[in-house]
Amino acid sequence: MKRKAKKAGANHSRDSAPDLREVSKILEFMEQHSLDEFEYENGNVHIRLRKAQSHAAGAPFRAAHSVPEIVVAHPATVSSATPEQSGSTPEPIDENLHVIKSPIVGTFYSSPTPGADPFVRPGDHVDAGRVLCIIEAMKLMNEIEADVAGEVMRVFVENGQPVEYGEPLFAIHPSRKQ
């Protein structure tokens, strides 16, 4: 279980996102039928949900009862890192680029307030810790920060568009250590 999760997560350019709304529906279904585990397979996507309360002690989060464990396994044939719904050009992403993904489902805002200048544009150099965008969910404004320093190569999402969990937001070409 743990090993599998790691494997899927390690290859950053390969794992695309599960649709969280689908996951929510499954969670509801699990709730209704008092299920602790759920497995689902459809083409390239394999989702397995297991309620953390059925874990042994030492669950990773304190909000243990509500944390589903999500494992998304992809066969090696899946090569595009950009989900189709993002609508951007399907060209594959350079292996050297660092892709920043959305940690939550929400609405993407490229600027701090409507009409203001965007936080970043392609070509900008950013330091680690720089705010790149805001993802809003339920009036929670989530500032997404760069976790590496480098040049912003691509912005995958347009202002005001919905994003899914794990959806690529930015590609950054990491700068060499100064």
Binding site: R21, R62, A63, V105, V131
Partner: protein, 343 residues
Amino acid sequence: MAPGKSRAQKNRPSLPRRTDKRIDALLSLLSENTTIVISGAQIAKEIGVRRQTVWRWIETLRAAGVKVKGHPRTGYHIERAADVLAPKLLARGLRGTPFAKHIFHFFKVDSTNTVAMRLGEEGEAHGTVVVAEEQTSGRGRAGHSWHSEKAAGIYVSILLQPQISPMLAPALTLVAGLAAYDAIAEGSGLLPDIRWPNDVLLKGKKVCGILTEMQTEPDRMHFAVVGIGINVNQSKMPGELASIATSMRMETGRAHSRLELLARLLWHLDRYYNQFIAEGAAPILRRFAEVSSYFEGKRVRISTSTDNFVGTTAGLEPMGILRVKRDDGKIESVISGTVAEAE
């Protein structure tokens, strides 16, 4: 690595200076000895400043609406406990919660959320409270401002560092809304409503607004700041807000203690927050269903950045996302946007 360490390069202006601890002590001294006249010399000795400073600070308190009687020759007193949200006075009502220890008070600040975000970056503790008597640029969602009349409302931001996945964090906004709901219900004796996700309404008008901001890495939350504005003692709302906003005083016809209300708010926040961390979103959603007329069966207009439609609310998803049934039967998941009651 301590949160905030990597953000040292950020070029932000330095923090405004918080209220001097000795002003806090002065207020406490006067509040503990209401109706007793204390000489300027005695106050100066107790809080460790010169008599001229005492006089200057008394003027500061008067400007903030504290009714201090007397003058430098006779000494000073107040007739009843001051309704200033000062740390020492506030902390008394918060014993046993994480909010009693780190309270940053400002007479005037641009935005309590801006200060609290900054404190979060600097690694301040979970439970840090930032409170102001007046905001010069109080913020709401999508660049809206929050009307922050001096000493009339509660303008507070709370720094939280839950050890949860960012994916679960949006339910924190419901947690904050429920805390505000309970505080306002108890304080006013009226029955408020909650408009999803967390506007608290009295008689259909907004009495409390909440803006939550957080900083995360993809898989880890650094911190969240919950900013809460409550209209308490405003006797009227400025023109453009009059039809959509109200205050507790306007609905009850009497003034309310902001100090007491803030203590109630933080006390309920502690309670709901602990419940959320221990049991997850389920009990929070159940409570929302109990108190909000927007939970299901409400005709609403939804405006998002990409859509605008009318429908009927149909409950919440497990993480708190609002479900709205369009008139053609299709169910929409509303993650963000504006919810308004439809005729």
